[in-house]
């Protein structure tokens, strides 16, 4: 009977709620102690490599692993890397963006169905979403390579259709890379969306209908805004790894579909440390900048 228990919490993008957290004043030393292991971990495995990375991006490019590098603060590395690999950067972000949008379009209906319509099939469907993680990323992408290969039954079947050219190729195309990215990162989109939609109070959608909102309007004005934290989390979890991915392009693409991850990987393999490091730093900065703008615009600052 207590209608107070139905009072919506400060979810769904309400950053300006002045929630008076009773624990605020009592945090004290316990809070810092709890933060300690994480802080140490981050210092060792994130901050130290980051410093190394940034410093190696400023090495004199004339050195090599054999002869050793000298730290000359060579900022020119960045300009050189950008002029040579700028187009790859653009392509990477374009592919990642396309894959993210595809994931959202595929993932939202899926997450919605699991959260609100699946009933007793819900858990089974969730397991099905996570199931691909039971095999390795590499193996799954290799399977896609077989599936899209020139002699695969998929391609043969498609070629048999009217209007489809007989020399149709799927493998080694941009579409193949984007499809691979979409496939591989779909669970990262579905799970946060599911978490948001599962908490959605359907009575709010009913209230919208009662207040003259058609199903589409109710979806646009109530469901989507309340699912916003999930949408933001999902798109970030998809876009960030997709932008730096190199496996999909390596296995499903061609030399003209190379992504920035491929170049960084190759350069490190070839021990061209300064350029590889400069590209890595730029990728990181670009992603952080894009994410910051995105999160600010979508009004869900509490996620970061």
């Amino acid at each position: 009977m207590s209608a107070l228990s139905h009072v919506p919490g400060p979810t769904g993008g309400t950053p300006d709620v002045q929630a008076t957290d009773p624990g605020t004043e009592r945090r004290g030393i316990t809070g810092y102690l709890l933060m300690l292991p994480g802080t140490v971990w981050l210092l060792l495995f994130f901050l130290v490599p980051l410093v190394t990375l940034v410093s190696s991006s400023l090495y004199d490019p004339s050195g090599s692993l054999a002869t050793g590098y000298s730290m000359t603060g060579h900022v020119q590395n960045y300009a050189d890397a950008l002029s040579e690999y700028g187009s790859t950067f653009v392509r990477s972000f374009l592919y990642a963006l396309t894959a993210t949008i595809a994931c959202l379009l595929l993932g939202f209906p899926l997450a919605y169905a699991i959260a609100l319509k699946a009933g007793r099939w819900r858990n089974l469907m969730l397991v099905a979403v996570i199931a691909p993680f039971f095999t390795s990323f590499l193996l799954r992408t290799l399977s896609w390579k077989l599936l899209l290969g020139d002699d695969s039954w998929v391609v043969n079947a498609l070629q048999a259709l009217p209007l489809v050219p007989d020399d149709l190729r799927l493998l080694a195309t941009p579409a193949a890379v984007i499809t691979g990215l979409t496939y591989n990162f779909l669970p990262f989109m579905v799970l946060p969306l599911y978490a948001s939609l599962e908490r959605l109070d359907v009575r709010l959608v009913e209230a919208a209908a009662d207040l003259y909102a058609s199903p589409f309007t109710a979806f646009r004005l109530v469901t989507v805004p309340l699912a916003m934290p999930g949408i933001v989390a999902g798109t970030l979890l998809t876009f960030i790894p997709a932008a730096g991915d190199f496996i999909n392009s390596e296995l499903l693409g061609n030399p003209r579909t190379r992504m920035i991850g491929n170049d960084i990987n190759d350069l490190f393999q070839a021990s061209v440390l300064p350029t590889a490091s400069a590209l890595s730093v730029m990728l990181m900065v670009a992603i952080v900048a894009l994410v910051a703008v995105y999160v600010r615009r979508s009004g869900t600052d509490e996620l970061v």
């Binding site: 209608a3 139905h6 009575r203 009662d210």
Partner: protein, 386 residues
Amino acid sequence: MVEQAGGLSGGGADLQIQGVTKRFGDFVAVDDLHLQVPEGAFFALLGASGCGKTTTLRMVAGLERPTAGRILLGGDDITDLKPYRRPVNTVFQSYALFPHLSVEDNVAFGLRRQGKVSKGELRTKVGEMLELVELQQYAARRPAQLSGGQQQRVALARALINRPRVLLLDEPLGALDLKLRRAMQLELKRIQTDVGITFIHVTHDQEEAMTMADTIAVMNAGVIEQMGAPEELYGHPRSTFVANFLGQSNLISGVVKSKQGDEFLTEVLGTTVRASKVTSRDLEGDVWVGVRPEKVILQRPGEGRQEELNRLSGGRVSDVSFVGVSTQYLVRMASGQELMAFEQNTGERRPFAVGDDVDLTWLAEHTFLLDARQDVRAGAELGDGE
């Protein structure tokens, strides 16, 4: 994005529910319900938890499809109309305020969807509505930043601003403390009188229903037990459920002996008890003879007026509780049954004490007769308080 809520023509906007049944699987939540609510009425739907009140409202709002039956508004069949096309708004039991919108945007939601008013007009209307519910200074807040009572008023404003033909209120005062609830009851009644919209108010608080409504329908297990003005329901209950659920009743086993003029003569515990034909149904044979505890006057044996009063002798006071304005007596009869009598503490006479011998007396017009086949305890546990 302009959706029309109108499209309905026809005369008086009375709501008719014709033979509506709602089943969830095998479970019958609402069973062949018939109701007619006149335009501009304050109608209360009263019943215990789980008796189908919310389900009935949801069917009127269009959020639930009746399994059978029709719902008419002003003569137009709206049974199959989508909820967003019905000129009906709901104040939900849970408020269902949009957590991501400010109070102002919550209130403006319905008008914006209808798209009939200009921006300036919308602002004015929202301002007026917030003033009506005294929340002007909270316009920019989010629902989560309001108290329960304030949220309830936002929910009310959000529905009322649309001036629907029918406003459905689903226990909107349930979450409030007693004092605020009383204040909001008066407020709601005032608003309803001001705007003249048909209100259907669902509650399981009988006192609330009686103070606010013109007409009360008492619902029990999916059917309407009785419908009428509060005084009528209270004075002339037609079933043991209503007699017990709405206030309290003494129900004593009796037999109808004869009809004389405008009275029935019944035999109760060996004495004749007269019941007015106005208050009683035309029954024969075994009956429950009922009288409200506050209508009973206790007298010393043989004392007081004789003729015009019904009188049951041979009672002995078995319990006395003082409750401020009144004193509540339990009187054990020779048959072993305990009857209740509530007396105002006027100080006119020394109160009785436990063990005193008393007669119970009351007027014929305060007697009602009920069918003896009904369960004498029906509704008793549910009706007392909340």
